[in-house]
Amino acid sequence: MVFFSNSNIAKKIRKVAKYNEILSKSKATDKDVEEISNKIKDAIWKHYSKE
């Protein structure tokens, strides 16, 4: 890690690590993903089908 300490890639790796650390605490399930994304897809289609 010392090798990357001042580089842009080090910042990116830290950001990715933080993103994954947070996600590992999520209580969401596959069913939740499907439920929310289906609602979003429905709303988006409503927008486009009006055009």
Partner: protein, 132 residues
């Protein structure tokens, strides 16, 4: 390399650790894919933040950080750049209308789609790639 992503992929990347979050993690560093999505998707996501909070138990601040990480990797394409492909997409998808915008975008950019939707994959197997 362009790759269309649908709401299923975005929500999965924001709220759940798995194959899709790994793709976004890796792409953040190596930039292999240029993720694209219909412009309207980002507006609609904003209407569902309360549900994301409810399902994840994240604080609002944490959720915003996760959203920013994922959404910043996506280019949002204005409707006029792909709506000329709607008729062709509709013909291919027959009754599965909800996926027309994503297929139309893929046709316009001549690229594949990353989606966890099994029905979508079964209709357009060559174009839809599922995360494994």
């Amino acid at each position: 390399m362009y790759l269309v992503i649908d709401p299923n992929v975005i929500i999965s990347a924001v709220i759940k650790k798995g194959n899709i979050s790994e793709i976004f993690s890796l792409n953040y560093i190596i930039k292999k894919f240029n993720f694209i999505a219909p412009n309207f998707l980002i507006l609609e996501l904003g209407n569902h933040t309360a549900e994301i909070l409810e399902k994840t138990y994240f604080s609002e601040k944490i959720m915003k950080e996760e959203l920013e990480f994922v959404l910043s990797q996506i280019t949002y394409i204005p409707d006029e750049e792909f709506n000329n492909k709607f008729a062709e997409a509709k013909k291919i998808l027959k009754g599965h209308e909800k996926d027309i915008p994503y297929l139309a975008l893929a046709l316009a950019f001549n690229c594949n789609i990353l989606s966890g939707d099994k029905t979508f994959k079964s209709i357009v197997p060559d174009r839809v790639k599922t995360p494994k």
